[in-house]
Symmetry: C2
Subunit: 212 residues, 2 copies
DNA sequence: GGTTACATGTAACTAGTTACATGATTAG
DNA sequence: CTAATCATGTAACTAGTTACATGTAACC
């Protein structure tokens, strides 16, 4: 799961571990500053060839930075910015990008995973993205069906309140997902309309087109 | 976490592992039929003296059953009901009940744990129950504050949609919790009114009582 | 001169899943 | 007779947390 998050964040741009962790915290709702998971994950990703790393000196003789580097005099504050020690900046590899696309499509029966998949689903093709949403939708529907099949037996008010909240949450989630799906379809329709208009333009002599 | 769920369920009545797992499935939203976690947990709980177990033969020479046992002839279907093999029925011990009360009060910053705490919070005193709710409320408020402090930077529509859902969920959850808390306070007020009436009855000569 | 933030990492632990092994009983 | 359900368990794995170790540099 961390793999998905890390690869997704690295696809947006190169980062070092500490910075990755900060972004993870805001991305995953209430994620601990759990370096104990992140650094081993980065090492693993590198071993498997999905990311590569570059040691970056805080006081750089390094010249790998952007070509329009600020001049020497304000380096001490601007390029070093803040860095206690040498950082390891990670980049995603081509193999890593392929793997990311795989991770973005699997399952969707896991709340946390789907959250990450959604956060990076823009990297998928529209078709695969829609498939992901539909998969999640099917899962939510099956949960809802299960809940309806065997309703709460308990008479305890706290348990009943809990289960009612669950149901409201499921319904809210489904409505939200449906809006996302509708958005996808609208986009697709827009694209198709656009293409149709171009087609019509290209062959203005055509009389009917497709029915409906 | 399983400890909490198991002790809570056993406090309601003696159960064997297989049955426990079925109840867990409905209690914890979408819990796998994960015997690989349950049976080791039961063994651990027993080692620590929080539960004790009794082997129950499916074709009982056993006489531990309720005194009003149905007669011999329909035993083969009614008392055995369904049992492929010898079951191990677990009971909660006194030490286990103490431990359960501890588990019911710790933290509340964990979604899944709080779910279980709520499911069994009826075993707490009203004071401790209210304290639990307030703890959870404080946690939700801090999450909300955090989200407000650094809002979404991303312009990606999927990410934005995700974070908006998060906020709606937080608000819905808080409102729900507030209703629970209000319920607790109402109960307390009811009790106090009741007691006051009794007090007034007992000493009808008393003129003022406490102001307000 | 102490606290906070930057930066990387390890070890031990918590928590749960997946897959397997085994075997009895019951319903179709 | 075969599939499903009942019933208990183990082993290997996935996933993440907590606590520790280490050191720099900026902020007040």
């Amino acid at each position: 799961m961390l793999d998905l998050a890390v690869l997704g964040l690295l696809k947006e741009g190169d980062l070092h571990g500490y910075e990755l962790n900060k972004r993870l915290k805001s991305l995953v709702g209430g994620y601990a500053n759990s370096y104990g998971a992140l650094y081993p994950a980065l090492a693993r990703l590198e071993r498997r060839g999905w990311v590569s790393s570059t040691a970056v000196d805080p006081d750089p003789a390094g010249d790998e930075q952007a070509p329009g580097e600020p001049a020497r005099r304000n380096r001490r504050r601007s390029t070093r910015s803040k860095s206690g020690r040498t950082r390891k900046v990670y980049q995603i590899t081509e193999a890593g990008e392929d793997h990311l696309l795989e991770l973005l499509q699997e399952d969707a029966n896991n709340e946390r995973r789907f959250r990450l998949q959604l956060a990076f689903c823009r990297f998928l093709t529209p078709e695969r993205r829609l498939a992901l949403f539909e998969l999640r939708r099917a899962h939510l529907l099956s949960l809802q069906a299960m809940a309806r099949r065997d309703p709460v037996h308990s008479t305890d008010p706290y348990v009943r309140s809990l289960f009612q909240r669950d149901q409201e949450r499921r319904e809210h989630d489904l409505a939200w997902l449906d809006r996302l799906i509708a958005g996808e379809c609208a986009q697709r329709a827009e694209y198709r309309t656009h293409r149709t208009m171009i087609d019509a333009d290209r062959s203005a002599t055509d009389p009917g087109g497709q029915p409906q």
